[in-house]
């Protein structure tokens, strides 16, 4: 093999800048020429993908090492904030995931959004998203990550609300933005805390500080734990972890390619990436790591249980994503960075593929309601095969990719003494196999139940009649391409290559007991789904009626949306009401109250009202008196 030179750092930077070029060109040049906008995006992201491959190749020649380049951005006193690139094994894997999935999704979108009036806008947003996501991955310090992190959030907002005529889409966009910002608040606090204590946000410097006992003293007294939990809270928001997971199912209102790229493969994985990237901090803060494990376990379980009863194709996948992200977090939390990232890597491909299957099924039936599908397997063999591969992979059946990474996570949990997590993960595995095959069986087997007439949606490219058909090549080919890693990517860590690449010790133990248990559990899940929905030995309705409370509880998503809705409504209305009162009674009231006080005492000043210039003057003087009083009380 001819030796390929190592990639220069400028080329790595180009991976990030290429999609930005496409964004600018679309915005200013080709917005009226949608076709060109689409091809432009595909070309630039394709180039980014090739450069990512080159980066990956370079990194394989230097395991455990890293590339980097910096320039000073802001110098404040002696400290400086640097903009820099940091490339190691983790980065190059993420680069590959982001660019490859993004590339395939863009190709798919050219067909899926064919004829949509917002076609150019869609690709502009997608370019911006890809660039921002690459920024998160390439950044060498927390501040840059935070900047791109927020940009990714904005893109997600814009893309969920892409069909802003749909009120649900607009509401979902807002919900996603607001909910994730709760997490970001913690993230920002953590950044401020770290910076104020250590004076740096650079990963390498931070790691040096926490790794040396003398320097780590600046973060003593539990501060490091709080910082790590703050970082994790950002990840909780982005990666839809319990209890901030509520935005992800609603985000399915966005176009399906968006769901595949952002809400399955990349953005939601950014939280996992963030925790993995700052893992040395977590290693020194065992309580924070424990929190990660607990939240991950809860999320995995809760997500999977809600997925059991949904009827919407994409929502089942969304809950499945939540559950799988929880599993990755659990993997990180129990100490298995390699296992968590490995699962992220595998999951990105098969989950993106399944979302594209959902889009493909919708393309044929104009609905996402699986009760209205049925029998699609006959008409859409490619989509059906892809779904089967995805289902087997996510359920953890040998030799599909999910088998390998799930086994590693379970093995790590068991090996590190997290027995409760292990048991919950097994239950999750059972539920995962069940809902995934319930989805596949109901949608693809049996008789076709009519779908829905094309209406409501804004895309007009599909024929209005009801002859079911496989999707066009631009949609089918990405499915086929994504199916390949879903089958084979699991073998990447067979010899510990993946682990060594990440700079970890590449010892791979096959946990035979775990493999046996988890495979049995998964097969049981598939069997149960078969009995319920294909053989129909157990009537579904009876079960639902026997346990109405559980069924309702799950169907209503643990009532969490209602709870949050209630809280937000009360809180929001309360605040509005308070502000209203503040306006009416405090601002005026201060003016009025003081006025009437004065009127009562001396009958001097007439009644004042807001909007009244004299009331304002009174506030000025009352303020002055208050300040003087403050100085008298607290001393000069």
């Amino acid at each position: 093999m001819p030796s390929i030179p190592p990639i220069p750092i400028e080329m790595v930077a180009a991976i990030f800048f290429l999609p930005l070029v496409s964004l600018l060109l679309i915005t200013f040049v080709t917005r009226t020429a949608p076709k060109i906008s689409g091809y432009l995006t595909i070309t630039t992201i394709g180039l980014s993908f090739i450069l990512s491959l080159w980066t990956f190749q370079t990194m394989t020649t230097m395991p455990g090492k890293h590339l980097g380049g910096v320039f000073n951005w802001i110098v404040i006193g002696e400290t400086d904030l640097q903009l820099g690139i940091y490339v190691d094994g983790l980065t190059s894997i993420m680069l590959l995931v982001v660019t490859s999935v993004s590339l395939l999704v863009q190709i798919y979108s050219t067909a899926y959004l064919h004829g949509d009036p917002g076609y150019s806008r869609f690709f502009a947003y997608m370019s911006l998203f890809t660039a921002s996501m690459l920024g998160v991955v390439l950044a060498d310090n927390l501040l840059m990550i935070f900047i791109f992190w927020e940009l990714v959030g904005v893109c997600s907002y814009l893309l969920i609300g892409f069909w802003f005529q749909k009120p649900e889409a607009a509401a979902a966009a807002k919900k996603a933005f607001v909910v994730t910002r709760f997490g970001d608040l913690g993230f920002l606090m953590a950044i401020l805390l770290l910076f104020s204590r250590t004076g740096t946000l650079d990963f390498q410097h931070l790691f040096e500080i926490v790794d040396s006992p003398e320097k780590a003293a600046v973060l003593g007294g539990g501060l490091l734990t709080w910082a790590a939990i703050g970082i994790f809270s950002g990840a909780v928001g982005k990666s839809a972890q319990f209890p901030l997971h509520v935005w992800l199912p609603d985000a399915m209102e966005g176009p399906t390619p968006v769901s595949a790229l952002i809400h399955a493969a990349t953005m939601v994985a950014a939280g996992v990436y963030l925790v993995a990237r700052s893992f040395p901090l977590f290693e020194q803060a065992p309580q924070a790591l424990f929190t990660v494990a607990v939240i991950g376990t809860i999320t995995a379980f809760v997500g999977a249980s809600m997925g059991l009863v949904m009827h919407d194709f994409k929502r089942v996948l969304a809950y499945s994503t939540i559950s799988q992200l929880g599993l990755m977090m659990m993997g990180l939390g129990v100490g298995g960075v390699v296992a968590g990232i490995f699962h992220l890597f595998n999951h990105a491909f098969f989950k993106a593929m399944m979302f594209l299957c959902a889009g493909s099924a919708h393309h044929a039936t104009h609905t996402y309601d699986i009760r209205k599908m049925g029998g699609l397997a006959r008409y859409m063999p490619i989509t059906f095969s892809a779904m089967m591969i995805g289902g087997l992979s996510i359920s953890g059946i040998f030799p599909f990719s999910g088998f390998w990474s799930k086994d590693e996570i379970l093995g790590e949990a068991l090996g590190n003494g997290y027995n409760i997590s292990y048991i919950f993960a097994l239950i999750t595995a059972f539920m995962t196999a069940f809902y995934m095959f319930r989805l596949t069986f109901v949608a693809f087997l049996g008789e076709y139940r009519g779908g829905e007439h094309a209406e409501g949606e804004r895309w007009s490219g599909s024929p209005g009649h009801h002859s079911l058909h496989e999707s066009p090549a631009a949609m089918a080919i990405p499915l086929i391409v994504l199916a390949i890693p879903s089958v084979v990517s699991g073998f990447a860590n067979m010899n510990g290559d993946f682990a060594r690449f990440l700079g970890e010790a590449g010892v791979v133990k096959l946990h035979w007991d775990v493999i046996f248990t988890s495979t049995t559990v998964a097969l049981l899940g598939i069997l149960t789904a078969y009995l319920f929905y294909v053989a129909k030995v157990i009537p579904v309705e009876t079960v639902a009626r026997t346990f109405p409370h559980i069924h309702g509880f799950l169907l209503n998503k643990y009532y969490m949306d209602d709870l949050y809705g209630w809280i937000v409504e009360k809180l929001y209305l309360g605040i509005c009401h308070l502000l209203d009162l503040f306006d009416q009674y405090v601002v005026d009231g201060v003016v009025n109250g003081i006025a009437s006080l004065t009127t009562a005492s001396g009958g001097v000043i007439r009644r004042l009202e807001s909007g009244q210039v004299q009331g304002y003057a009174l506030v000025i003087f009352v303020g002055l008196v208050a300040i003087v009083g403050g100085f008298l009380v607290f001393g000069g």
Binding site: L158, C576, V619, I620, G623
Partner: protein, 480 residues
């Protein structure tokens, strides 16, 4: 007496009179606007040529240093933007356009004086030159709302001037001088003499002066005028008030408090704490009141109050980083706010409305305009990659260094709250349904103003270092 040092201001005043003369001679008002706009090159170039000098004149009343030149250039840039915004808008008061531009230039001259005086009498006079010009400008539309804005601004402005003067009188009486450095020295000596005791007149004087200047920057509780005046004034003038007049107020506050009351070993008056409290109050009241607003000008008025609170964080930090942060923040805020108001001018010119509800679906009808407004609003929230982000980080960081953690927490929380009402506008523009599909054209001069503002917002935000150096260079004058 070195008149050369006064060049920027004098040439600006000369330009104002020239504008009035040309206005008499020609009927083509665009010529007048062009003269006013292009003429700004002279004072700007003059100010740049003075860069690096430190000299004083008029018996120490006037000083030219990097600090004053920083602000002078800021005011000239603001004036240029206002003139660009006004070319189309000023057709509303057709016969008086020449006077309008002349008064803008005079107000700018007043602000430039404010930045470079270090003596109480001249501070007062330059402040009044700026203020009286602004009273006139605020009521320039001569309709009921604009006149009401004018009278409210004038009455409250005069009252707060009285408060300011009372403070100055007390300070003068307690120290026997009106020059800031002599005041500082006198206080220092009297404190050494009396074992650290401070005359009550100095404390009271400092508080009254804080009140008088607090009015200019619209800090709580001296902010009551701002929403009404901002709503009623002609929109370009509203931009000018938020961008330039506020900066002028801060320029004076920093100079007076740092030079006269900040050079003693234990501070005679704990004004950093006073400003810290005012800062927390100001941002909270401003943000909370902005939330229920339906009129975008009024919403931005409350937002501008909130931003005064954020900038005060840098003042309260009482350090050279703090001052640098304030200078940088003011520069960024000027461009951001002027950009937002330029967009509002462009939009309301076509829609005839300032209601946020009418901005629905604007992204479809005027995509670039909506994008620019969105970028400005994002900068106001303080999100990257805009100047608002760096500015907030910088002042918060300066405050953290001085141990003002509670204030920074306040600020961060407030930033989060503020996102809500800014994003409401973005949401209306991008996710709302348009009332009609008819595109909104924008006049050419406005496009220039919008482009300059938005490029500045992004460029200063993405490449902040030279601008931060610029700001810190200015700060060094106050804190060596």
């Amino acid at each position: 007496m070195n008149l050369y040092l006064l060049g920027p201001e004098l040439s600006l005043i000369g330009l104002a009179f020239l504008v009035i003369l040309v206005d008499l001679a020609t009927h083509n008002k665009n010529v007048v606007a062009a003269l006013a706009g292009i003429g700004l090159v002279v004072p700007a170039a003059w100010a740049v040529s003075l860069w690096g000098q430190t000299a004083s004149s008029f018996y120490g009343a006037l000083v030219v240093d990097s600090y004053s030149i920083f602000f002078k250039l800021l005011f000239i840039a603001a004036a240029a933007l206002v003139i660009l915004m006004s070319v189309q808008y000023s057709k509303r008061f057709a016969p008086y356009q020449g006077e309008y531009y002349a008064v803008i230039l005079l107000a700018t001259a007043g602000m430039m004086f404010m930045a470079s005086t270090q003596e109480l009498i001249s501070i007062y006079i330059s402040l009044e030159l700026a203020s009286i010009s602004l009273y006139v400008l605020a009521s320039f539309l001569k309709d009921a709302k604009s006149s009401e804005a004018g009278i409210k601004y004038l009455l409250l402005g005069a009252v707060s001037s009285a408060v300011l003067l009372y403070g100055m009188a007390l300070l003068y009486g307690a120290t026997g001088s009106t020059k800031l450095n002599e005041i500082a020295q006198a206080i220092q000596e009297s404190m050494q003499r009396d074992q650290g005791a401070v005359l009550p007149a100095i404390v009271l004087g400092a508080i009254f002066m804080a009140g008088g200047f607090g009015f200019k920057i619209a800090a709580v509780p001296f902010q009551m005028w701002a929403p009404d005046v901002y709503e009623g004034a002609p929109t370009p003038i509203t931009g000018f008030l938020t961008g330039a007049s506020k900066a002028a107020g801060f320029a004076v506050i920093l100079r007076v408090f740092f030079v006269a009351l900040g050079n003693q070993a234990p501070l005679p008056v704990d004004w950093p704490a006073l400003f810290a409290v005012l800062s927390a109050l100001t941002m909270t009241v401003g943000n909370l009141s902005a939330i229920p607003q339906a009129n975008i000008k009024r919403m931005l008025a409350y937002s501008s109050i909130a931003h005064a609170g954020f900038i005060l964080v840098g003042v309260a930090a009482f350090s050279s980083q703090g001052v640098g942060g304030v200078a940088y923040y003011l520069l960024g805020y000027m461009f951001t706010s002027m950009g937002a108001f330029a967009a509002i001018v462009a939009i309301s010119e076509r829609l005839g409305s300032d209601q946020i509800a009418d901005y629905s679906g604007l992204a479809r009808r005027a995509p670039l305009l909506a994008l620019i407004l969105a970028i400005c609003l994002i900068s106001l929230i303080g999100l990257p990659p805009t100047v608002g982000f760096v500015a907030k980080i910088y002042v918060f960081w300066a405050a953290l260094q001085q141990g003002l953690l509670w204030l920074v927490l306040f600020g961060v929380l407030n930033s989060v709250i503020s996102a809500y009402y800014y994003l409401r506008v973005v949401k209306a523009m991008y996710l709302g349904a348009p009332a009609s599909e008819e595109p909104l054209p924008v006049s050419r001069t406005l496009v220039v103003a919008l482009a300059v503002a938005v490029i500045a917002v992004l460029a200063i935000g993405i490449f902040p270092q030279p601008w931060l150096d610029f700001g810190t260079g200015a700060a060094i004058v106050l804190i060596p």
